[in-house]
Symmetry: C2
Subunit: 311 residues, 2 copies
């Protein structure tokens, strides 16, 4: 795989960022991805500040390569997490779910490279204006929290490419090496891969959650909670509960306010829990190690490149 | 652009199929696309049998290259249209919106190459079993009628590739040459392009409709009528009417049963009419001739290929 503006900016070998996912992306996953030449990312969204600190420390002792922290801005812990990130001299932060204006300046003053996750061209432009160093442009097919415009990754990439000057990674729906090549062909400087790594051996998610990804076919996820904060989840029992609550006009915030994601992803409760993963789960048929995933991505990329170059 | 299994099957130079769109794809558009080396497609969905016959005859006199007819199976005219297609010895038919079992055998017995439009892996497999020669796999971002699973083009391509042996074109969200390369990289044997051609000089659509595509940004379309038959349309007045009717529980079929698509696309009535086009409209900023579109697609493809091959 070729080096790009993004690999140079982040100091990584391959243009592959691992999505910083709640209850999935601890130091084991992040350090393994960084050791393979991608950008490992700790998912701070499911960590209290002290736990985040532990994961950062462990990540540093497990890899001497760059890694990042994904920081959902809306979290009540985000301010405290920022202080730990600066204290621990984390090289890269990817903020999400909030205004890029909120923390970008503070982080950059501390010498940190800042990325921000966006679902739209409009927000990508705002990030550039706010001084963000790179964008993660995430489409409708991505697992977890999602944008309101429902713009797909394929539609997002060329529009983002035209709209901004800073490097960007494409995210949402990417699980194999031919798709990495496809995203680079459309002008992305790299990709972010979520669900594939959520289903890796080093992911902290529960085996039940990983099995659900493996069993999923193309129609096993849906974007729900559009009136509140859109999120793509698996069509398990909790999904049915949401549809019923929406129909009845029940309080959705209350339905959610029970640690559903932890129950589903971390504890493997398929009945009560919320399982966040992406539409590309239909393509994932086995749980591999991070090393095996990188080997596969590189082989698929090479094969695909030979195919488009050959006659 | 390289030749593929699909270009060989269809006898065309470039792996580009023009979407057979209602009120858009008459003989002018179809013959122009075929003359440029793609596959021009007449949209029979908005033509009574006698009108379809006229367009076929005119298309034949305007090009000596292969062209196709897109035939929505659910239409009450489909049986009569099939007879005309066979009588007029059209080389290729792309069926859609109905079971591939219905007409495939009859068409193949008449020596016609049969394609079928699918929104899912499941239906792609059924097409293969029914003897269909090629698939058009269309994602969530496509304009007009759409699948229930909301699978995006990026997620659909690698899954279709793994599931079937026959050639397939990717459709939905494709408007530039870098995206054509991206789709081939992911394993598609070609692409189908809709909205970009709907906004061409040779399209029979009204200028108001074309202007609406040009003005559209990334969030200007939405998938609606999910309880009836999902369709992606522009967020104009008619879109608001649908949302209100859905909220009130009014009869949606009645709301639609007023030639809305004709009013919007063909007559340019932006208030009462339904404007079907895709999410990639946000990327389309000018109305070009078919010749200019092909020139651009080839240039973009070449540039993109050089980029992924170069260091």
């Amino acid at each position: 795989m070729k080096s790009t503006r993004l690999t140079k900016l982040l100091g990584i070998k391959y243009p592959i960022i691992q999505g910083g996912m709640v209850w999935v992306s601890g130091y084991k996953l992040a350090s393994s991805v960084s050791n393979e030449g991608g950008l490992g990312v700790l998912g701070a969204g499911s960590m209290k500040p002290e736990l985040l600190k532990k994961h950062i420390v462990k990540c540093k002792s497990n890899t001497n390569k760059p890694f990042a922290v994904n920081l959902p801005i809306f979290s009540s812990y985000s301010q405290a997490q920022i202080e730990i990130i600066i204290e621990e001299k984390v090289a890269i932060v990817i903020t999400s779910a909030g205004s890029p204006k909120k923390y970008t300046q503070r982080l950059k003053e501390a010498g940190i490279i800042v990325g921000h996750v966006v679902p739209s061209v409009l927000l990508a432009k705002k990030c550039e204006d706010a001084g963000v160093d790179f964008i993660v442009a995430e489409g409708f097919e991505a697992g977890g929290h999602n944008g309101r415009d429902e713009t797909t990754t394929l539609c997002l990439i060329p529009q983002i490419k035209e709209a901004i000057q800073i490097p960007f990674a494409a995210a949402g729906g990417i699980a194999n090496g031919s798709q990495v090549l496809a995203c680079l062909a459309m002008g992305a400087d790299g990709v972010q891969i979520g669900t594939k790594f959520a289903c890796s051996k080093e992911s902290s998610a529960h085996e039940n959650y990983k099995d659900e990804i493996i069993k999923a076919n193309e129609s096993h996820t849906a974007l729900v909670l559009k009136s509140l904060m859109p999120v793509r989840i698996a069509k398990t029992n909790f999904y049915d509960e949401i549809l019923i609550a929406e129909k009845k006009g029940n309080d959705l915030a209350e339905l959610l306010g029970k640690g559903r994601a932890k129950q589903g992803i971390f504890e493997g409760n398929l009945k009560q829990g919320e399982l966040e993963f992406g539409q590309i789960s239909g393509l994932i048929k086995v749980c591999l190690s991070v090393q095996e995933i990188f080997y596969q991505l590189k082989e698929e990329y090479k094969k695909s490149l030979n195919k488009v170059v050959g006659v």
